[in-house]
């Protein structure tokens, strides 16, 4: 897909902005804190209505406003020209697609894929398991309604079981009732995460080899908390773990405690890889995510690169560039214009939430 027009109203520091995108490569240039990333964030919201920077809606709504509105005009492989409108309030969201109100997230997910490359992505290597799980869930759920359903069921059933454990007066009968709802959904998550990470690993390895330009094998390793993707086995484990869970007042077994990690040359990247290697790993992972979206949906994702070019040395930057899908639309930000070898760009100068188009450089 290609984003052709993006209009923001009361979104973060932008009172009003309307950008028309021509061509395939667009660059937002300006000092830090002027609102470049806000625009990428707005563009990325169309995919799953989630920001890559925050889980709090109210941070997205301009100061003193109660509603932010985003309007997208998209050139879409399957649907032709499509108009999407998203309204954000402090306590909720409303979505329209070609003037029709969309009320189920499942109907929207996967239709408008974008992939964000950001310096915060290093947290996928260095950060907490919860950050990696969130990324994995968003990636898999975006293209798989079955995964989303299993995730919602497992999350809710787990919350109910934990509420029961916290109450301190959980009966075996009630625990059992929620375990039987939890176990099949959780087993499905384990199976789909295992398969999904295998597919993602394949394209990540290819991209990493290109970016790192060295004969160092990289891998993506799933670490399930409970490795058997079987509802019966998980149910038995939950049952036998009741006494311990009651003592800790929370559920200690299940995919809500899953993790995955990266390796380079067969050792854990978190502890042993250089910063350059870690950066290459997450760039490769994002490229794999884009390939996954494209393969699953038949729609080519828009790539949103938030200040990542400036952080790479020239050789790595050129190799990263050649690893990207040459047909994909790219919206990138930076404090300086990119080097000439990265092609022609449509340029917008960004200052204090205002976007001004400059004549294209070549």
């Amino acid at each position: 897909m290609r984003l052709r027009k993006l209009t923001l109203r009361h979104f973060r520091n932008a009172g009003f902005a309307a950008l028309e995108f021509t061509g395939r490569q667009h660059f937002l240039v300006g000092a830090n804190g002027q609102g470049k990333t806000n625009l990428l964030e707005a563009a990325g919201l169309v995919t799953a209505l989630r920001s890559f920077r925050t889980t709090e809606n109210k941070l997205l709504v301009g100061h003193g406003q109660h509603c932010a509105a985003l309007a997208y005009v998209i050139e879409h492989e399957r649907q032709g020209e499509t108009h999407v409108t998203l309204k954000l309030r402090h306590d909720g969201k409303e979505l329209w697609c070609d003037q029709a109100r969309v009320t189920k997230l499942a109907e929207h997910l996967g239709k408008f894929p974008t992939v964000v490359f950001s310096s915060q992505d290093l947290q996928l290597v260095r950060g907490s398991p919860a950050q990696r799980r969130r990324w994995l869930d968003l990636t898999l759920a975006a293209m798989d309604a079955g995964y989303l359903r299993a995730l919602q069921t497992a999350t809710r059933a787990l919350a109910e079981r934990n509420a029961l454990l916290k109450s301190g007066r959980a009966s075996a009968a009630e625990l059992g009732a929620f375990e039987q709802t939890l176990a099949p959904a959780a087993a499905e998550l384990i199976a789909r995460r295992g398969a999904g990470l295998k597919t993602l690993e394949k394209s990540m390895q290819a991209a990493y080899a290109q970016i790192a330009d060295a004969a160092e094998p990289a891998s993506l390793v799933y670490e399930p908390n409970f490795a058997e993707a079987s509802a019966e086995a998980l149910l038995a484990r939950l049952e036998s773990g009741r006494a311990r869970d009651q003592q800790f007042r929370t559920t200690l077994t299940g995919p809500h405690r899953d993790d995955f990690h990266f390796t380079v040359k067969h050792t854990a990247a978190k502890d042993f890889a250089s910063e350059g290697q870690q950066r290459s790993l997450v760039l490769a992972l994002r490229i794999a995510q884009a390939a996954w979206f494209h393969e699953k949906s038949g729609v080519r994702p828009v790539l949103l690169a938030d200040d990542v070019l400036g952080e790479l040395d020239p050789a790595r930057r050129a190799r990263f560039w050649s690893a990207l899908d040459p047909e994909a639309q790219i919206i990138a930000t930076g404090t300086h214009l990119p080097a000439a070898e990265l092609g022609a760009w449509q340029v917008f100068e960004v200052a204090d939430g205002v976007f001004a188009e400059k004549e294209a450089v070549s």
């Binding site: 059933a157 109910e160 079981r161 109450s167 009966s171 009968a173 929620f178 709802t181």
Partner: protein, 198 residues
């Protein structure tokens, strides 16, 4: 507005489905526009509050010990359809597809909301099963996590012991919704196509 008016409006606003605007409209309507309606409304409220209670057998609304359905000799008492709330019962009745009786739980298990088995109308159902009057239990509870968990609880801790036939409807219903949101045709086919549970 006066203090008494505001107090009335506050009470109305606490009713389900009423916001600030609609509670204001109702209060104005009753006090200013059509004050003649007020007396009959008050007496209807008092009469209903005095007369309406829960059916001893099934938990449905009743004006005596038994509701109209339980008192009807032509209904099949061996066939019991378990629902979450009274409006679910009303929706199934409206479909005309069911000739058995009901059991209204008045809720579903939800530890998050502090609802346990003791808060549901489960003891009366246990009594009906132990008295041997139930041949088949149809679980018409919502498709969501709490509805499913309540089904598991009921089948294992009430129906599990005997040779009671247990079936589940709700699979064909819109995901996450209950019987209340299904139309009559959908309900009818769900009832006819109910499947064995466990």
């Amino acid at each position: 507005m006066t203090p008494a008016f505001e107090k009335l409006q506050q009470h109305l606003k606490q009713l389900p489905g009423l916001g600030y605007r609609s509670s204001e409209r109702i209060a104005l309507h009753l006090l200013v526009e059509k004050p003649a309606r007020l007396a009959s409304l008050v007496s209807a409220l008092e009469a209903a509050a005095a007369a309406v209670r829960r059916c001893d057998r099934c938990g449905n609304l009743a004006e005596g010990p038994l509701c109209g359905i339980c008192a009807d000799e032509r209904r099949d008492r061996g066939l019991v359809c378990v629902v979450e709330h009274v409006p679910d019962l009303v929706a199934i009745e409206r479909s005309g597809a069911f000739r058995g009786t009901y059991h209204v739980l008045h809720g579903k298990l939800s530890p998050i909301h502090g609802v346990g088995p003791g808060d549901l109308n489960v003891a009366a159902l246990r009594g009906r099963i132990e008295a041997g009057e139930v041949g088949e239990l149809i679980l018409a509870l919502p498709n969501d996590v709490e509805g499913e968990a309540t089904c598991h609880y009921l089948t294992e801790h009430l129906a599990g012991a005997g040779e009671l036939k247990t079936t589940r409807i709700g699979f064909g219903l819109p995901s996450g919704g209950g019987v209340l949101y299904a139309d009559s045709v959908t309900l009818k086919s769900a009832l006819e196509g109910r499947r064995g549970y466990h």
